[in-house]
Amino acid sequence: MRQICWTLAALASHWRKHPANLATLILGLAIATALWSGVQALNTQARRSYDSAANAFTGGKAQNLVAAQGGLFAQDLFVALRRAGLKVSPILEGSARIGKKTAKLIGIEPLTLPRDVGLAPLAGNRSATGMLTGDGLSYAAPGTIRDLGVLAGERPLTDAGFKLPPLVALSEAPPGAIIVDIGVAQKALNRPGRLSRMIVAPDMRIDATTLTEATDRALRIVEPEEDSDLARLTDSFHLNLTAFGLLAFLVGFFIVHASFGLAFEQRLPVLRTLRALGVSARALVAAMVIELSAFTLLAGGAGVIGGYLIAAALLPDVSASLEGLYGAQISGALTLDARWIISALAMAGGGALFAGASGLLKTFNLPVLSVARPIAWREAHRRYLARQATFALLSLMVAVLAGYFADTLEGGFTVIAASLLGVALLLPLALEALLRIGEALSKTPLSRWFFADGRQEIAGLSLALMALLLALATNIGVGGMVEGFRHTFIGWLDQRLVAEIYYEAATPHDAREIEDWARKDKEIVAILPVWRSKTRIGDWPVEVMGMTPHTTYSEHFPLNAATPDVWRMLHEEDAALVSEQLARRLKLSPGDSFDLPTTGDSWRLRVAGIFPDYGNPKGQIRLDHTRLAQHFADASGIHYSLRVAGDATTRVMTRLQETFGARIARIVDQAEVKKISTEIFERTFTVTTALNTLTLVVSAIALFASLLTLSNLRLAHVAPVWAIGVTRDRLATLEMLRILVFAAGAALIAIPLGLFMTWALVDIVNVVAFGWRLPMHIFPQHWLTVFATAQVAALVAGLVPVRRLARAAPAELLKVFANER
């Protein structure tokens, strides 16, 4: 033990002498851990919220009863069912604006709320006493209360002017929701005597016949599994996040690997001396493992804190995109979770051990007596390059095989990861070749030295340059995909959102009255009912929507592929338009046939066309409006879009709102829908862009760390040239130029690699993850930006070491020639 302690003290002295190296090592490990744990924190938080939302009322196992044709239904039905002996509990849900935030208001009836579903604390007499006596009580999760900017005990005021009962914190409440007594909810939402659904007690199962008899087809059953799709639908989103987290971790790992490698080289004489002084190889390795563990704890701990901060910063965007895309409510307050803390520390430990493994192995096999000859770098470098080339070819082979055989998301990411790794490993070889060409073409001795010395420098910088290449390629790859998606998406929105006004009636009855009214309005050119229903094909949820024969669709509705007479076929035959993701899932092409499960039956349809449906996690089928009504008795008839003349949009919307008030549940104009959709799109990619930028920053740090560590070793290479008569300023300029050449080389290789990544994301990952294939766009301007970014990153990273060289005192350079060196 004494031996290990003294060895540790001797090893630690290296870091005392080179604090900057220690800082970069810790920083690298901490940043890598932070990016990984940040992403894990986001994923854990989101999944926890899905569970909370799914279990809140149904526990994932209870049936729900909803209006057969969508919308709300009369409270009398609840009374009728209870009288018939069915154990059901009423729920009314709606949105309420409180200040600048929107909360989901959920009205419950505590006395009938089943005890064995989620939110058990609210079931029964005790909470009923609180909710039903005095001013009553509102319940919300502590995070929701914080997000709303109110305090527990306060009475939030809705924008409609309704004062909710005093708030009580309830950790089991779903995120973003306020739970009140159903009577309070009906008043607050201005829905007197209306309900949105009823929960059936889990110990009871209601069959369709009983329900039909008791409610005269007014209600339909929603089986529990229909609503538990959230976790499954969002899997791809989280896998994408994880993949980017992993990539960022890998880039950080490169820093750690480079730092450890260089530290090992620098400490080689100390290690030899320790061995010569009688320290056993085992004790030496044990001391190094202890040192490594201390770094892991220190950097891992800092990384977990950093990860928490990153996750907290990104959570609002993640939560907004998850809500926009999937309707999932994510708690805005990040909770600490042991799982991601442990996962982060494990990644830090594993990464550090892997990064330090080769050093530990070399230490274990270190000969006590070593021939004191200069390091045969050329020989070592040749072996190193040969090894790199072998691994690179293996990686590229894996990429090709994965591309051929894998049709899963994991397979898609394997293609990307293996090709990135393969090309990154080839980078030093490519740079070596580039420098050889430069050397051969050189006319002056200094330029010849510039290239020859550059080849020697690659060995020390290769890991950092690989990290830079990965970050740049990812930037081009992901940037290209996002930018391409933006182009496609905006064009698609323009085609898809042609109608000027979109509204949702409160009930089907209200919908008919609004429709009658609209027919008489002279400024309304067309009324386009968009009735809709739900079904499942296999285990996948599918939305079924109706379309009326109108030029709005036949002239604008975007189609990827279609039969020649698609619109006639849709309206006159048993035919359907199928969304791209569903068509891909079912392997359908125009002209193919498939069976669509309808209300209690199955309907054989032919595919008239396939349409892009970006951003929709569910499948979608478009049918002729009349045929939809015939086959889906439960189709909700409350959604409509209107075509209006000229600039009449605002006037028509005002008239509709004035005439029908609360009977119109929601009304928006085209601009608003586009704005919302674009906002969702932008926020969805905010996280990706942020991770992308962070990865680039990490790679710049990797370059800086390596250059800083190398700067001490570089003196030995530079001092003889200085002694022969080249000024420090000139040498510093050449050093900077060389760093810029390396970065330029990495950037030039990153461009085709990034393009390949865009292709893999667009053609493999997006298709598997989301079911849609985007047209591939190319953005040369973005490449220029990335190239410039690489140069700036290299310039910034090289500034300190190069400045150090330019200002190195002659005495410092002379040490290179000193006998005692």
Partner: protein, 218 residues
């Protein structure tokens, strides 16, 4: 070379540490001088100052009548490149360049590359068959010969050597020195060598001794 009142001290936590205290020294062209003294006596510092590798605190260093002590960085670099050749104990060859490239490096840099002289030098140094190799592939003696060749390739007016044989065994060291002296005589440059060895010093024309930064005998 004419050195007058040369002083130099290094900053230490305990205050300035004088290393050279007003040294006066002359060396004619074609003359050889061995500088001896104990470790820390200031030998290497004197060599670094004369070699325009470091800045003096006071005094003059005249090379062919030009005072190099007051020259800026650029001027010093030019002197190092064109007027002086230095042979270090550690050889300090450029690992990334071949032997041939190392030999020619300084002369090309100084724009004084002479293929005939280079060929003769290479042959005299016994390096004809090694020009394509890299320094790490050579023995210590061979590396030292490359260092001598590099320093003399530009035909300097002054050759400086800091313990040039310190890393070599005695016969190899002797041979290297003999070769150096031959080449010095051939080029007619002045030669200042720092050494601990009285035996080696005796082979040069003059000997001088430094003690605590002061020249005590010449």
């Amino acid at each position: 070379m004419c050195v007058r009142g040369l002083s130099k001290s290094y900053a230490t936590p305990q205050g300035p540490l004088p290393v050279l205290r007003g040294v006066d020294l002359t060396l004619e062209a074609g003359e050889t001088l061995a500088m001896m003294g104990e470790s820390g006596s200031g030998k290497s510092t004197l060599l670094h100052l004369v070699g325009a590798l470091d800045d003096a605190d006071a005094g003059d260093i005249l090379l062919d009548g030009v005072n190099i002590a007051g020259l800026p960085e650029n001027g010093k670099a030019t002197v190092r490149r064109e007027t002086i050749g230095v042979v270090f104990q550690q050889f300090n060859l450029i690992a990334s360049l071949t032997v041939g490239e190392n030999l020619a490096f300084q002369s090309r840099l100084a724009n004084r590359y002479d293929p005939d002289w280079m060929a003769r030098l290479t042959q005299r140094l016994g390096l004809d068959n090694l020009t394509g190799r890299y320094p790490e592939q050579l023995s210590g003696g061979q590396q030292q010969r490359v260092a001598i060749g590099r320093a003399l390739a530009a035909r300097p007016r002054l050759l400086l050597a800091d313990e040039p044989t310190g890393n070599l065994d005695e016969p190899t060291g002797d041979a290297a020195l003999a070769l150096t002296l031959e080449l010095v005589a051939e080029t007619g440059c002045g030669f200042l060598m720092v050494t601990h060895s009285v035996r080696l010093a005796s082979r040069l024309q003059r000997q001088a001794t430094l003690a605590a930064g002061t020249l005590i005998s010449t």
